[in-house]
Symmetry: C2
Subunit: 112 residues, 2 copies
């Protein structure tokens, strides 16, 4: 219970990987991250975060066989490990707890 805190971007990336599932490879992640959060990050940036998350054992990855598209290299597909999920879970839970204690709920985002 040390609280292996996730950086804010790391957290977004973990979420995207969970959402994308078998489609969780860099380009897709980058694209989807932009579509959903309006954030456009360089590929290098994403790779750095991805490998940092991997060395923290929050992500694992495997190569898929190359497809027959123009320039279609084999892609590395990521998935969130159990540790990654619980880190995410913990961060979410803590914030939820705090959020519930904020007086004047007016400003809050409605759950439900």
């Amino acid at each position: 219970m040390k609280g292996s805190n996730l950086g804010e971007f790391e957290e977004l990336v973990l979420l995207m990987v969970m959402i994308l599932q078998e489609e969780a490879y860099v380009l897709k992640i980058q694209e989807e991250l932009h579509a959903q959060t309006g954030r456009k990050v360089a590929m290098g940036a994403l790779h750095t975060t991805l490998s940092r998350l991997t060395s923290k054992d929050f992500l694992t990855s495997v190569f898929t066989g190359a497809t027959q598209e123009r320039g279609g290299r084999r892609k590395r597909v990521y998935s969130v490990s159990a540790a990654g999920k619980s880190a995410l879970q913990e961060a979410t839970a803590i914030r939820k707890t705090l959020l519930d204690q904020v007086p004047n709920y007016a400003w809050q985002v409605r759950y439900i």
Copy 2:
């Protein structure tokens, strides 16, 4: 809509300030942060974050008159600005949106 992303610790601090209200001064924040999240941060760390948030205009602060306790200096009480609230709101909303797209809700923290 630039996405003035909050760091993960910055976000926790903003939340604590909102929760603590008139009691939002460093020592209290530190103490409460530890109580609620199990995280023990050094005072210096907190001050750095607090002033970063202030220069981003997410926090404002005023001095209270010193109380009559032994060693009781006047404390600087913080409060979250409108900009701070919306930054918080935005971060929360984005994550909520993503969270809702994660397949296999089982692992998720229940809202409600």
